[in-house]
Symmetry: C2
C-alpha cells in the first residue's frame, strides 16, 4: 500500500514515533517553561532532512516537493543554562529490565564523548514507559558503562543506580535542570 | 515560470542564496576544522521546515512530498567551546556604508539578548562582500547599537570600530574562535 497523507494522519502509521512524542512533548513543554521563566534557553533542533526536489515558482515561495529524513549526527536538544553548554537526547525504553544500546546511534555516543571533552554537559533522559519513570543518566556514566561492558544493553538497575529519577509534575513537566544544577554545583561549585 | 529542479540546480535561480553560501561554506569548513582538531564542537542547525505531506509506503521509508521552509526563530550556529555556550549567525552585507537591520529578524535579536542573559556568547559574523572583509560583532555591541539609535542600519564604521576583523586563511578559513578566546580571557579570565 502506498498513500499520501496529511501530516496529521501520519502518527497512526508510526507507532514508535507516537510513543516518542509523549516524552518529547513533555521535554518540549519543559523547555518552553524554562524559556518563559528565564531559567534556560534550550531548544529541540529541527529534524534534519535531505531535500532532493524543490518547486521554485518565485523568490518568496519555495516549495519542497521531495525530501527524506536524515539520521541525525548529533543529539536532539541543546542550549545554554547558566553559561554552560547543555546537549542531550530523550529515549523511551519498553523493557523493564534493560535499555538496548541499539537505541543510541554510534555517532550519538561519539557526540556525547565530544561534548564532555569540550566541557559541556551531556546526558540522556530515559523513560521506562511501562512504569512511566524518567531517569537522567549523565554522559560520563553512559561512556563508562560502554567502556567496561560487552553487553549490548544497559540494565535498568544500572540506570536506577547511576541515574537520577525526575519526578513528573504539572509544570514544568520534567524538571531535569534541577538535577543538572546539582551536578554543576558538585563539579564547578556554586554558579 | 514554474519548474521542479534537482537541488543541485537550485542555486543558479537563487542568487542571494548563492551569495550566502560562500560565507556559510567558509564557516562550515572552519567548524569542520575545529571539530577535526578537537578545538570546539560547533554545528549549523538543520534548516527548519514545515512538513505538510508525507508518502509513507512502509515503516523504514518515509518520503516527504510537500514541505515549506520555516523562518528560523534562533541563530543558525551553536555549540560548545571550552565549556561555554556559543550561538551565532552569519550575514552578508552588500553595502560598503551600512548593514541594514532588516537582515536580522526580530526574534533573532531577541535570541541574542536571551543568550547573553543566560551567560552564553553570541555574535554575528558579517561579510562586507564588495571588499571581502569579515567582521565579528559581539551581541552586546549589536544590542547596544539598537538601544541607542533610531537608524535602521548599522554603519560599517561602527562594525569596524566595535567589531573584530577576521583574517581569511587557508585553514581554518575564518578563525573566529581566536577572537572569542580573547573575549573569554577578558571576561572570565584564562580558561
Amino acid at each position: 500500500m502506498n498513500y499520501t497523507n496529511n501530516i496529521k494522519n501520519i502518527k497512526k502509521y508510526v507507532n514508535y514515533s507516537k510513543r516518542g512524542m509523549n516524552l518529547e512533548q513533555d521535554i518540549n513543554d519543559t523547555n518552553t517553561y524554562y524559556r518563559n521563566n528565564n531559567i534556560a534557553l534550550i531548544y529541540k533542533k529541527p529534524t534534519p532532512i535531505t531535500i532532493t526536489k524543490v518547486d521554485y515558482p518565485r523568490r518568496s515561495a519555495a516549495k519542497i516537493k521531495e525530501a527524506f529524513f536524515t539520521t541525525p549526527s548529533t543529539l536532539d536538544y541543546n542550549g545554554v543554562y547558566k553559561g554552560k553548554y547543555i546537549d542531550f537526547d530523550v529515549k523511551e525504553c519498553k523493557s523493564l529490565t534493560s535499555f538496548p544500546l541499539s537505541n543510541i546511534h554510534n555517532h550519538q555516543i561519539e557526540c556525547i564523548k565530544k561534548v564532555i571533552e569540550h566541557k559541556g554537559i551531556s546526558f540522556l533522559i530515559i523513560r521506562v514507559t511501562k512504569i512511566n519513570e524518567n531517569y537522567l543518566l549523565f554522559g560520563e556514566d553512559i561512556i563508562h558503562f560502554i567502556k567496561n561492558n560487552i553487553r549490548k544493553s544497559i540494565p535498568i538497575s544500572y540506570i536506577k543506580e547511576k541515574g537520577y529519577l525526575i519526578n513528573i509534575k504539572y509544570s514544568p513537566r520534567l524538571d531535569y535542570l534541577k538535577i543538572v544544577n546539582k551536578y554543576m554545583e558538585e563539579n564547578y561549585g556554586k554558579i
